[in-house]
């Protein structure tokens, strides 16, 4: 794992998962992102770090929001960007994935940003692409979404400084969530005091404790004294596959309400990777309220993705 993501000097080459990366590397990403975060307020919002580089966004799964931030991040670094939405059927095989990659390689690109519905797709591409190409995982199946996790860490650090003192609760569909897996790994690597997951058993993966979390089936128990609340988006299809009865019951048990928010620390921050289902996982007044940092997450996404692109193409620091 680690070897695949790092070059021979131990520097980030691909960014596929948080799993196996050191605290130093995660901190370097956060520090680099910090230096980019003030750029958005400047009159000229562009640096020439990746001038002459070509970045291809390969989205096998639709996501306008994530794709847009990657496009914007690449543009701000002066790279040339090509975005491709590749609709795939569930039965499409690895060969066609590999063929797509080979065709683009022939056009001398420098980086693939990949989103795919199958776990491990990013690893597969990184293992099979030309050696000079970097691969960034923009979400693969239920496995990992490491750039989302890093922007969440960045947002937490802005508000809370020291991870060692923090209790963080992640709430919702942990089982199907690549975001949750990457968040858990990032929080633990950064030394978070306690990571909790709160969900009904149908939405918790088996042996979830092996990832270094404490599992709760009740909001009342799990939210007690936490510093950070991370809500996950609930997909509608969970109701039809007998994982949950209905949205109303879910909200009654696991929705974030004003009353439940009081169980957490008074300076708690509330996060959500978006898009929000208002009234399903979170009350509107909390999403828009003083504890919410949801929109900051979105703007931080840009700086963090710029940092990861610059670091993986090894151009940061050279310029």
């Amino acid at each position: 794992m680690t070897n695949l993501q790092l070059n021979t000097e131990g520097k980030l080459k691909h960014f596929l998962t948080i799993d196996g990366l050191s605290k130093e590397i995660l901190t370097e990403i956060l520090d680099t992102a910090e230096s980019f975060s003030s750029m958005s307020e400047q009159r000229v919002k562009k640096v020439p770090l990746l001038r002459g580089k070509t970045i291809v966004n390969l989205f096998f799964e639709n996501s306008t929001r994530t794709r847009t931030t990657f496009e914007l991040a690449a543009t701000r670094l002066s790279a040339d960007v090509l975005s491709m939405n590749i609709a795939t059927s569930a039965t499409s095989k690895g060969e066609s994935l590999l063929d797509t990659i080979r065709n683009l390689e022939a056009m001398h690109v420098d980086m693939f940003v990949v989103r795919h519905a199958i776990s491990g797709a990013g690893h597969f591409i990184a293992q099979n692409t030309a050696p000079h190409i970097s691969v960034i995982n923009a979400g693969d199946g239920q496995h990992a979404h490491p750039t989302q996790a890093m922007l969440d860490m960045f947002t937490i650090r802005q508000h809370k400084h020291d991870f060692k003192q923090l209790k963080v609760a992640i709430i919702g569909d942990i089982l199907h969530s690549r975001v949750a897996r990457s968040q858990i790994q990032a929080l633990n690597t950064l030394g978070t005091k306690e990571v909790r997951v709160i969900a009904p058993k149908t939405l918790l993966p088996s042996h979830v404790e092996s990832m270094g979390v404490t599992a709760f089936n009740s909001m009342e128990e799990g939210l007690e004294g936490v510093d950070v609340i991370i809500m996950l988006r609930l997909q509608k299809e969970r109701m039809t596959s007998a994982l949950l009865p209905n949205e109303r019951e879910y909200f009654n048990c696991f929705g974030l309400s004003e009353k439940r928010l009081k169980l957490a620390k008074s300076n708690v921050i509330v996060m959500h990777p978006g898009p929000i289902n208002r009234g399903v996982e979170i009350e509107s007044c909390i999403a828009d309220g003083p504890h919410s940092v949801i929109l900051q997450q979105v703007s931080n996404g840009l700086a963090v993705r710029m940092a990861i692109m610059a670091l993986t193409l090894q151009s940061y620091g050279e310029a």
Partner: protein, 425 residues
């Protein structure tokens, strides 16, 4: 027919409790005698088996030859060559060939191709249902007449428990052994890894143990109801073993096999997203592995098979869940069995019985022993000879093994099938 003499070997024949050095005399494709002197015997070929083990040829209950139908993965010629080099002298071919083994025409084609490959003892397993579609019973009597040694639906699901019950009743009417891959499809839910820490960490859809053990429990209940001869193929979990053990104590006619790699690898050994480790049933936990090894030692599991499934490169080239499951495993069957002996999990005699006598008993065939009068199916191996899994040594068309590049101790030096040397190193 050649007369063959095998001298100075360490003979292990579990059927006769033999475990000593001696000589074996072969004539007319049969074992003429073992141990005692035959002064008037003039051998055409003499094999010196000094420092080697001489045992019955292995009988493998599950070998995908990929032929007919998927010759880009393997052919009857390539895979029987691999079998011969692995000491396997009889093998069972599951019915999921293309076309499936549900007519006499297909069994004839297989027999014809095996004969051309100079490998005679390929035992086709007939489809339990037409086209393996799980709904209508196959012509089991005709399939038995055509040479099918058992019936099975391979890994294809059955429409209902009623179909399973009727299939068991009908098969037992013709005294046909039923082989079952115990899986509950709705619980496996298209998973690709054991539902445990590994699947959770890498976001892979999981297969719970209960998918297997529930199917085992259902089959055992129906076997009691119908009185059929039942064999479980490739059991992988502790809970299944407990159920099989209870049934055996109770006196049910049931046997079980385990794929050799399940006795060595667990979810902890899987290299992340390395498709060579993608296999069904999936690699489970250390606890399951321990239980599988114990059950082999105490006889709850009777048989070790290779569950050989060669693949082309493309089948394994992709993101883990999208790749095809299965391991090319004939050629690591013996060395991995010897590793069990080295680990003190079983004795050498138990290991050889699990590869010879026990599968012969389950199938009801004459092979699997060195008793005079029986077919001269013999494997001679050097237990201390080291070899590496690499293209030079590998014979199967499928290179899909998690053991690629590893060095093993123990290698087959001669294989005899009905008195003919079909392989020598």
């Amino acid at each position: 027919m050649n007369k063959i003499l095998i001298t100075n070997g360490h003979i292990i024949d579990p059927a006769n409790n033999t475990d000593q050095s001696g000589t074996i005399y072969i004539a007319d494709g049969k074992i003429l005698a073992s141990q005692e002197q035959k002064p008037d015997f003039t051998a055409d070929i003499t094999i010196d088996a000094s420092n080697k083990v001489v045992c019955p040829g292995f009988i493998d209950l599950s070998v995908r030859l990929r032929d007919p139908g998927q010759s880009y993965k393997g052919t009857i010629l390539s895979e029987t060559t691999a079998a011969a080099s692995a000491g396997v002298t009889s093998l069972c071919l599951p019915p999921d060939t293309r076309p499936v083994i549900d007519t006499q025409a297909v069994t004839e084609l297989i027999a014809d191709k095996s004969e051309k490959a100079n490998y005679t003892q390929v035992y086709p397993i007939g489809a339990l249902t037409n086209q393996l579609a799980g709904a209508e019973l196959s012509s089991m009597f005709a399939l038995k007449q055509a040479g099918c040694i058992a019936v099975s639906n391979a890994t294809a699901p059955l429409a209902s428990l009623l179909v399973l019950r009727r299939a068991m009743e009908y098969a037992s009417s013709h005294d046909l052994l039923i082989m079952i891959h115990p899986v509950t499809p709705s619980l496996s839910n298209n998973g690709c890894a054991h539902e445990g820490a590994f699947a959770t960490r890498y976001g892979l859809p999981g297969i719970p143990e209960a998918s297997e053990s529930i199917a085992v429990a259902q089959c055992l209940e129906l076997a009691e109801l119908t009185g059929c001869r039942l064999h479980f193929s490739q059991v992988s979990s502790r809970r299944s073993i407990i159920k099989i053990q209870q049934a055996k104590k109770y006196g049910l006619k049931v046997t079980a096999d385990v794929a050799i790699h399940q006795l060595h690898l667990t979810e902890d050994d899987i290299e992340p997203f390395n498709s060579s480790f993608h296999v069904l049933p999936p690699f489970r936990t250390n606890k399951d592995k321990k239980s599988l090894r114990e059950s082999l030692a105490n006889g709850t599991i009777d048989i070790i098979c290779s569950d050989h499934q060669p693949h082309d490169l493309d089948a394994k080239l992709g993101a883990f869940p999208e790749t095809e499951p299965g391991i090319s495993s004939l050629e690591t069957l013996l060395p991995l069995t010897l590793r069990l002996v080295q680990d003190n999990a079983i004795t050498l005699s138990q290991g050889i019985a699990a590869l010879t006598l026990n599968p012969a008993t389950t199938l009801g065939i004459e092979s699997g022993t060195l008793t005079p009068g029986r077919p001269a199916d013999i494997c001679i191996f050097d237990p201390s000879l080291s070899w590496t899994v690499n293209p030079e040594n590998w014979r199967s068309a499928g290179c899909n093994t998690p053991f690629w590049g590893q060095t093993f101790k123990g290698r087959v030096t001669h294989t005899l099938q009905t008195g003919k040397v079909i392989y020598s190193l």
